[in-house]
Symmetry: C2
Subunit: 210 residues, 2 copies
């Protein structure tokens, strides 16, 4: 499908392009040039064209890019034109926030199961997904062919949960805990290390003044 490995830097810009394009689409703007997009997003026009041309020629000389088409194309490159079965493991406040965000804003992700150790939380319910005990996590993931596991358990439980869902066959893990996970090749992992981000912020706060 594509010749050589696309660099990580390029991939991390794609969701951002898509986000801006969706915004433009909402405003009813039909076309945009790399120059105008550059002013909006803050990457150079040259970089934007380079990035997009990794995947194909989506523009038209003398005209620019169709906003809706480019939005759709980038979605397809990312794989957001398909749907994914997702479980959320850990239904504390972060898990609840994520569940709610996803079900309201990310239609391609279907939350099919939620897991937590606490009985009190299990008694609750989320839309059509039941909230289950972690003991049934492995079988559930395997039987339901779950694609993605979201991990929002306490730090010290993160690795064992990861091992469980990895063994049960998930394709991706979205890790929102403060540790890095050790996983076999072939399983994609994305970390949202919030505290790392906060610590970087502190650096830039004093670095800015100097």
């Amino acid at each position: 499908m594509k010749d050589r490995q696309i660099s990580k830097a390029v991939i991390r810009r794609l969701p951002r392009y898509r986000r801006y394009l969706k915004e433009l689409q909402k405003k009813g703007i039909e076309k945009i040039s790399s120059k105008d997009l550059s002013n909006l997003i803050g990457y150079t026009a040259s970089q934007i064209r380079q990035d997009l041309n990794n995947f194909g020629g989506f523009g038209q000389q003398g005209y620019g890019y169709s906003v809706s088409n480019l939005h759709e194309q980038i979605g397809a490159i990312l794989g957001l034109d398909k749907t994914y079965k997702m479980v959320i493991v850990g239904y504390g406040r972060l898990g609840q926030a994520i569940a709610s965000y996803i079900s309201n804003n990310e239609p391609m992700f279907h939350i099919v199961g939620i897991f937590d150790v606490k009985q009190i939380i299990q008694d609750a319910e989320f839309k059509d997904a039941q909230i289950m005990t972690c003991g049934s996590l492995h079988d559930f993931v395997r039987n339901e062919n779950v694609d993605i596991a979201v991990i929002t358990v306490p730090t010290e439980k993160a690795q064992i949960v990861a091992d469980t869902v990895a063994d049960a066959g998930v394709k991706g893990i979205w890790n929102l805990t403060a540790v890095d996970l050790d996983l076999p090749e072939g399983i994609a992992v994305e970390n949202v290390h919030m505290s790392d981000s906060l610590h970087a912020l502190v650096y830039y706060m004093h670095d800015g003044e100097q």
Copy 2:
């Protein structure tokens, strides 16, 4: 204090180094070589030494690095040897999760105020911080000399909150909403764009197989 601008890539690795060093410290390990650290973290030993030497020579030839010293030094570089006054704006589930995480795990950040529009939420309370209406945000930030504002409000309110706290004099904004904020020079901003991260995950899920 330092000669030239340190690259963003280096800065983003610092919290990660610190995280691993804290872990080593907890395990009672007193020294570590760049080689061993490399095996642990996954950066090359060369890169680790280069990164650290941007800030000074923290090691000792023939020996390695003192774990506790290096942990402390990196903390100081980031600015985590000081304390910061913080407000949380938006006390939904995400705001609550963050508040709880910070007060339990990040002693250098003092949550001095929490803001939300909903009366029902204002009636609650968090430790010694009152939960206030957003109308008082500007004055509170100014009078209390708040350093950092955490923004966890709904997307469409994010920019106005950012404008408010920026005008009131915060030095840093930790933005957990799905938009990019427009802010004057001199105010540091860190974005945690969770959905961008999720979308990148999806790319790597299908990219991995090919």
